[in-house]
């Protein structure tokens, strides 16, 4: 990739003695992981877009989507992205209790999102739209479901971070974990924006 030698040198003055900041390294590693996740989702999006008209004679999204639930999901996740940011802010001021409270609120909003999504899935299945119905519904459930799995893992991960902070308090290590988690959570919200736009809005318009 584009590399400017001029930047390289002042970068290294910072690490004059060859000591590397472990939190910096973890943060960059996690950023790169998130970019690989971008590619993961873009492959799913590409598949969904290519197969979106292959409804196999069954009803498509325009007929079956319940937009009220989807809009509610959107605002829950957007708000949780905001509250996870507030948690990080509290963390930088070393306010442990507010930070944990913001994290718990984030988790509850995420759980609310998941509950609504599951309700949506169950309703769709009752109307006959399943993974096996058509290419459209296979792509829909896989794409939206992959995002849902990410949210679920995120909640589990957050619980483990809260437990660790309660046990060990805030230090460089646990702070790093919260920072990385909040990045992950903002990223999931960003993916959801495109799910809302490409899967739901473009389908029902």
């Amino acid at each position: 990739m584009a590399q400017s030698p001029a930047h390289g040198s002042d970068h290294h003055d910072h690490h004059a003695a060859g000591h590397h900041d472990p939190q910096d390294i973890k943060l960059l590693g996690f950023w790169i992981f998130l970019v690989t996740d971008v590619i993961l989702f873009s492959t799913l999006f590409a598949t969904f877009i290519v197969l979106r008209n292959n409804t196999n004679g069954f009803e498509g999204g325009a007929d079956l989507f319940n937009m009220t639930g989807v809009i509610a999901e959107t605002f829950l996740l957007l708000t949780s992205s905001f509250t996870s940011g507030l948690a990080v802010l509290a963390m930088h001021q070393n306010k442990v209790k507010p930070m944990i409270i913001w994290l718990v609120i984030t988790g509850l909003l995420g759980a609310g999102f998941l509950a609504l999504e599951l309700t949506e899935f169950v309703e769709l299945v009752h109307e006959g739209a399943t993974l096996q119905t058509s290419a459209f519904w296979s792509a829909f459930f896989t794409l939206v479901g992959t995002h849902g799995v990410h949210v679920t893992i995120g909640i589990g991960w957050m619980i483990s971070i809260i437990i660790q902070i309660v046990r060990r308090g805030l230090n460089d290590d646990t702070k790093g974990k919260v920072t990385v988690f909040s990045l992950y959570w903002h990223f999931l919200d960003a993916v959801w924006i495109f799910l809302l736009s490409i899967v739901y809005l473009m389908e029902v318009m």
């Binding site: 030698p5 590619i39 197969l51 096996q132 896989t142």
Partner: protein, 657 residues
């Protein structure tokens, strides 16, 4: 009850073929042999402490290479069996169904379980030493990557004796690989074997990018990095963007097979062509992923053995970066015949031709490096020289294939087979052999026997041309790939010659095994640590390197820092001013990666057979391991005290610091 067990066993185990029974017996014997040796010499603890739980990049590299050599043997046996069938098609040495399995596993094993681990092995051994680091950025993750690769490879290879091998080609195109036409478990082994090892590859890609960006010695700017490190950087960048596509493509195929979804099926609105589109979006960059590090190896060996600076450093870097970017824009040339129309084909034909240009630049750079050099010809350099004609011919036939209208003639013929074997063996395998011979002394402290190595080299090269040149001709004559029987008498002679070549290469491989075996027992210990009088930092330390690599991290001033340092010493100038030895911060060994890989294996095996009672505990195990690591990671580090470092250095350097 007994009847039930018998019936289950006859479906569970692959039966009915004497070759398979032979394999069963040899697997059981080999396993018993290993268990016996380990128990007899009381080596279980040693194996656990020094290898299974290690996070040391040098040991992980050695394990990758060992596994890759075993897989090279397996893939090679597949190749020889196919060639035997094609030399005597009427003898029915392999039944058509069996032949399908063999060409499938040959391709999968060679790419995923031979080329990739050999590549990661070289990454692991060389990169941290070359950039002046004490390990990779994430040593624990590195160990996990290896064990995921290993679990995936074992799961895939198990299909040979349990359940049945996949048989839909190395890229498993649907609908043939879908459950409608392939109801057995073979394709499930394919999906999960590759998926599990692919996750490990992705993690390695991230790991090496961060290592290279963040762990370089002070003073080593990006444009002072050794060329092999640059090639690792380019390959890793390509990995992180290509492998997620593979993950999803295999996931979708799994959804089709396991849940009855309709992504790539013929009914329900599925579109098998989408699979072909997606798999090549990964598949084409993958080719460059494996070849870029080979280019890196050649850049090191050419400079070392021509005793000159690498010619055109900046253009070399530029070419690698450009190759890794353009490799994402050529994928459709693998399916010109799919019928996407003239516009699509024209675009991808042109991008394919463009990517040949930076490759040509590199070839000229290597040639100019050798020009007026004082060239010596030990085995690593011989492989480097042999690479150039092999790769030029392979590259030129590649440009022929890129001409879309002509490709309608070449497509899926033996011309294509000859082309990609020429670039993959002539480029990748020759490159990794060069790297293996070149860095072997750094890994083990002694050189491989040159005499046997030269025999292996010549047999490989002769066998290579004897095997693949006739395939170009028989391909132009119309012979297509993946057939086990043919009736055209004109093809017989060329196929027999080709088979002779394959056997010569098999013989060459045996020479290499003999070479390694012989050298382990009869060798001269390298006391210099710089056996080739080479140029980069990995040669500035004793061979094999101590666990912390550098007692003191050197300050880098120029590209070939170690060479410059030796020049300074030769001129009698002041050598490196290394700071005082300080305690070194190291990661502790961890058993979690190996245990997590076992859980992945259990998960994969359960999903292969649709046994949820097995898959779900496997999945839970994976999450328990993740939690266990998250809760214990902060305790997983320790310091090596100064006295111990001084003691180690004194022993290794024979007091000659």
């Amino acid at each position: 009850m007994l009847e039930n067990i018998k019936e289950f066993a006859s479906e569970f185990f692959v039966t009915g073929d004497p070759l398979i029974y032979g394999a069963d017996a040899s697997i059981v014997l080999a396993t018993l042999g290993i268990v016996f040796v380990l128990t007899y010499f009381k080596k279980w603890g040693w194996l656990w402490r020094n290898w299974i739980t290690t996070v040391d990049h040098k040991k992980i590299g050695i394990m990758y290479i060992l596994a890759a050599i075993v897989m090279l043997f397996r893939g090679g046996v597949d190749a020889v069996m196919m060639r035997t069938q094609l030399a005597f098609p009427d003898l029915n040495f392999l039944e058509p169904e069996h032949y399908n399995q063999i060409f499938t596993t040959h391709g999968v094993v060679m790419i995923f379980f031979m080329a990739m681990p050999l590549m990661f092995g070289l990454f692991n051994i060389v990169v941290p030493l070359q950039i002046g680091a004490r390990d990779v950025a994430f040593p624990y993750l590195n160990s996990l990557s290896f064990w995921l690769f290993f679990a995936g490879a074992m799961l895939f290879n198990l299909s040979f004796v349990i359940g049945g091998s996949p048989d839909a080609g190395w890229l498993a195109y649907p609908p043939l690989s879908g459950s409608q036409f392939n109801p057995g478990v073979g394709q499930n082994f394919y999906i999960w074997g590759i998926q599990i090892s692919g996750i490990g590859s992705l993690a390695s890609g991230i790991n090496f990018i961060v290592t290279i960006l963040k762990m370089r010695a002070p003073g080593m700017t990006m444009m002072k990095m050794p060329m092999f490190t640059w090639s690792v950087f380019a390959a890793s960048t390509t990995i992180i963007f290509a492998f997620p596509i593979l993950t999803i493509t295999l996931l979708l195929l799994f959804m089709d097979r396991f849940f009855g979804a309709h992504f790539f099926t013929l009914d329900g609105g599925g579109n098998p062509m989408m699979y072909i589109n997606l798999i090549w979006m990964w598949g084409h960059p993958e080719v460059y992923i494996v070849v870029l590090p080979a280019f890196g190896v050649f850049s090191e060996t050419v400079a070392t053995f021509a005793r000159k600076r690498l010619f055109g450093y900046a253009s070399m870097v530029f070419a690698m970066v450009i190759i890794s970017i353009i490799s994402f824009f050529t994928w459709a040339h693998h399916f010109f015949t799919m019928g996407s129309g003239a516009n699509v084909n024209a675009f991808f034909a042109v991008t394919t031709m463009i990517i040949a240009i930076p490759t040509g630049v590199k070839i000229f750079n290597w040639l100019f490096t050798m020009y007026k050099g004082r060239i010596s010809f030990p085995t690593p350099m011989m492989w480097t020289i042999a690479f150039i004609p092999a790769f030029v011919v392979g590259g030129m036939t590649g440009v022929m294939l890129s001409v879309a209208p002509a490709d309608f003639q070449f497509h899926n013929s033996y011309f294509l087979i000859a082309h990609f074997h020429q670039v993959l063996i002539g480029g990748v395998v020759f490159g990794y052999f060069a790297g293996l011979y070149y860095w072997w002394p750094k890994m083990f402290g002694f050189k491989l026997n040159e005499y046997l190595g030269k025999w292996a080299f010549w047999l490989w090269n002769i066998g290579f041309y004897v095997c693949f040149m006739p395939q170009y001709l028989v391909g132009l004559d119309g012979m297509t790939r993946r057939i086990s029987i043919f009736s055209d008498p004109d093809w017989v002679g060329l196929n027999v010659i080709s088979t002779i070549g394959a056997y010569i290469m098999g013989l060459a491989f045996l020479f290499q095994v003999a070479q390694i075996g012989y050298s382990i027992f009869r060798h001269e210990k390298d006391t210099t640590g710089d056996i080739w009088d080479a140029r980069t930092l990995e040669w500035s330390m004793p061979s094999p390197a101590p666990e912390y690599n550098f007692a003191v991290i050197p300050q880098v001033h120029s590209r070939d820092e170690w060479w410059e340092e030796k020049e300074r010493r030769r001129r009698g100038e002041k050598p490196w001013q290394l700071g005082p030895i300080e305690p070194i911060h190291m990661p502790k060994n961890s058993a979690i990666p190996a245990i997590m890989a076992v859980c992945w294996f259990v998960l994969g095996f359960g999903l292969v057979f649709h046994w949820l009672w097995m898959a779900i505990p496997g999945l839970i195990g994976v999450f328990i391991c993740l939690y266990a690591r998250s809760f214990s990671a902060h305790k997983a580090e320790y310091y090596i005290p100064v006295e111990e470092i001084e003691r180690t250095e004194a022993t290794l350097r024979g007091g000659a610091v």
